[in-house]
Symmetry: C2
Subunit: 285 residues, 2 copies
């Protein structure tokens, strides 16, 4: 089927958005649209320019015979600040307070669109690390983990606290919860992770970091590497954090049950924020 430029731009945008971090050879597009490589190059230059201008992401060029283009989702600083601000405001609503000083966050985690946006924030900040798989622990971290994984073009593995017959054989570890100091168990299906995998750990909430530290120990059992750690919310004022480097979007400073006051501020996200180094100039044949 022959395409005009306008049709190519629409379809190409859809294709690239659905294949983040995948290397797409120019010949793929020239075959798909029955168009000369020179036209495809011009198209991609337009796509690249618009993606960067509108904060959709970068289009990297990999030169050479095995080369092509790669769409890297990213978020510009202004948009990231705006989203983190929205998250702080959402979390500070007094009606979130539950007995015992816990916060109701189920509506935030249940908002599929918002999770996708938050997923882009993490995919953006971890874009230049080598990541083969995203790992989380059931249940609340799952939506965010999938959102991040979708934008990185990698699969997800889910650590469980209970054994299920449909998982086959599992590897389990005991770990000490950082805040309650209780011994807990977590397990992962043996065949779900390859030796040597580079794993990005994603979770919704981190207090002392016991659960995340447990996942790190589990990764050692699989001879896998921690490629990064990202959490939606960290709590402030933890003395002995069990986790070294992590990236958080927001920090829960103080919950005053009496005054119904919840104090949320920006996490350490911007300490790690960087603009993705796209290739300068146009996309050559």
């Amino acid at each position: 089927m022959k395409f005009r430029r306008s049709g190519r731009l629409v379809d190409m945008t859809n294709y690239l958005l659905n294949h983040p971090h995948a290397l797409v050879p120019l010949t793929f597009f020239s075959n798909r649209y029955q168009s000369a490589k020179s036209s495809i190059s011009e198209d991609l230059t337009i796509v690249k320019h618009t993606f960067e201008q509108q904060g959709i992401g970068s289009l990297l060029t990999v030169p050479g015979a095995a080369g092509g283009v790669k769409y890297i989702p990213s978020v510009n600083k202004r948009e990231a600040e705006e989203m983190i601000k929205i998250l702080c405001e959402l979390m500070e609503k007094p009606e979130r307070l539950l007995p015992g000083g816990y916060l109701y966050l189920t509506d935030i985690l249940g908002n599929a669109k918002f999770m996708n946006q938050v997923g882009r924030l993490f995919a953006s900040v971890f874009a230049e690390r080598k990541i083969d798989v995203v790992m989380t622990v059931a249940t609340k971290g799952i939506p965010l983990a999938y959102a991040v994984a979708s934008q990185l073009g990698v699969p997800v593995v889910i650590v469980r606290r209970d054994s299920k017959v449909t998982e086959g054989s599992t590897v389990s570890i005991n770990y000490v919860s950082g805040s309650s100091k209780r011994i807990q168990t977590m397990l992962l299906a043996k065949r779900s992770l390859k030796v040597g995998s580079n794993v990005l750990i994603i979770d919704d909430f981190m207090k002392a970091g016991g659960t995340i530290n447990g996942m790190v120990s589990l990764l050692e059992e699989f001879e896998a590497n921690v490629a990064g750690i990202g959490v939606l919310v960290e709590t402030e004022g933890v003395e002995d954090r069990l986790v070294d480097e992590y990236i958080s979007l927001v920090k829960l400073a103080d919950v005053d049950v009496r005054e119904k006051q919840i104090d949320v501020s920006q996490g350490n996200y911007f300490n790690f924020y960087q603009t993705i180094k796209g290739s300068s100039g146009g996309i050559k044949e």
Copy 2:
């Protein structure tokens, strides 16, 4: 900022893909691009044509002062057949067999990209029903539920089998598992679902339908309506199915542990498949 047509097409495509089922007024785009409504109409006609030709979805036009365009994700029949065929082949691999005749599906459910594609299949077949929220039960149904919800532009609520302090007060029901005949409990946070909501139930696996039937009972407690039921896999040969109307992608016919033979066929998806009735012709100012 002034945009040329080529830039508008790229950005518009991205915007529409990120806002499925949302009504976008033409004035939104004409303000965004500082362009005349007549140019925007022409752009949208190109987008619509490409979306339909490439099986990305439909672009519906809602006429009048409160009108605009709405992107409805959909899958054409050929693509749906292809995807269901891939799913059957994936599931039939003998190495999936676990002791007791269970199947290991964790890798399929962990494939974020594949889940998004399967989500599009369901979003497509349920596109014309009124849906306010997608519901599933923890844990395995969660990725698929979010994928469907993303494409329908609605949130997700997750039913749990155990109570969590971070959920606040909950409504719980007891139900009888259809295959094991055991009494089980499921619960949902009270504030997670509004009275009168139209709910699409999504799950990964349905045997006799006890779990799904439990979710239906739970919805009655919330005075909510079942807008539809979708499952990735149903098992064949169930005599007393507890659920009436449901849509399945594949049907697990027989598992022969001795011969290591797994028999998977197409589900009832195509009994419900229909082409989305887009507006004919171009998009008018």
